[in-house]
Amino acid sequence: AQSVAQPEDQVNVAEGNPLTVKCTYSVSGNPYLFWYVQYPNRGLQFLLKYITGDNLVKGSYGFEAEFNKSQTSFHLKKPSALVSDSALYFCAVRDSPHTGGFKTIFGAGTRLFVKA
């Protein structure tokens, strides 16, 4: 069965500094990996995805994520954090459809605080 772990409940970073939000996963086949962001009183919004290809994927709002197969990780990164990036971030994984996967499973979330 697929699973995803976000080891940090909260990440604090100063505005202008780089940020990293960690994620590790477990699937039986090739993973489909996602990051979603949730702002207060709003639904989850898609940020970026990895299916195949280049291990560094770029997404919305200047975010990027690095897929590392050997470490089964998919960490979210941004070179320079903004106060407006403060939100709840969810890593998610879907098993390959070739192994019957269609459910997207979410991590517990990491709250990002960016201090001015």
Binding site: Q6, Y32, F34, Y36, N41, R42, G43, L44, Q45, F46, K49, I51, F90, R94, P97, H98, G100, F102, K103, T104, I105, F106, G107, A108, G109
Partner: protein, 118 residues
Amino acid sequence: GAGVSQSPRYKVAKRGQDVALRCDPISGHVSLFWYQQALGQGPEFLTYFQNEAQLDKSGLPSDRFFAERPEGSVSTLKIQRTQQEDSAVYLCASSSQGPFSSGANVLTFGAGSRLTVL
């Protein structure tokens, strides 16, 4: 519509009451998912529809939970005899792709229905 619409946004129920939560997915979207998000937690999968067919209901917590999508568009999640542990935000998400598409199946979420059971 332009996005996924859920109603009601907020629902307060007395323990033992039945509730119904509605989801209007993006027009033409094949896949529809329901998730339950408890306070401070990530979304937990409840059930999945491909058009009108419910392909997976393994995440429904008990037989008090029932979901339907009779015409392959609007979906309703019904909770009978609500309990306090049912208090959560119920999220609906839709996708243009089918379950076994090789595409990413990116989900578009609604704002959720917050259920409070007293």
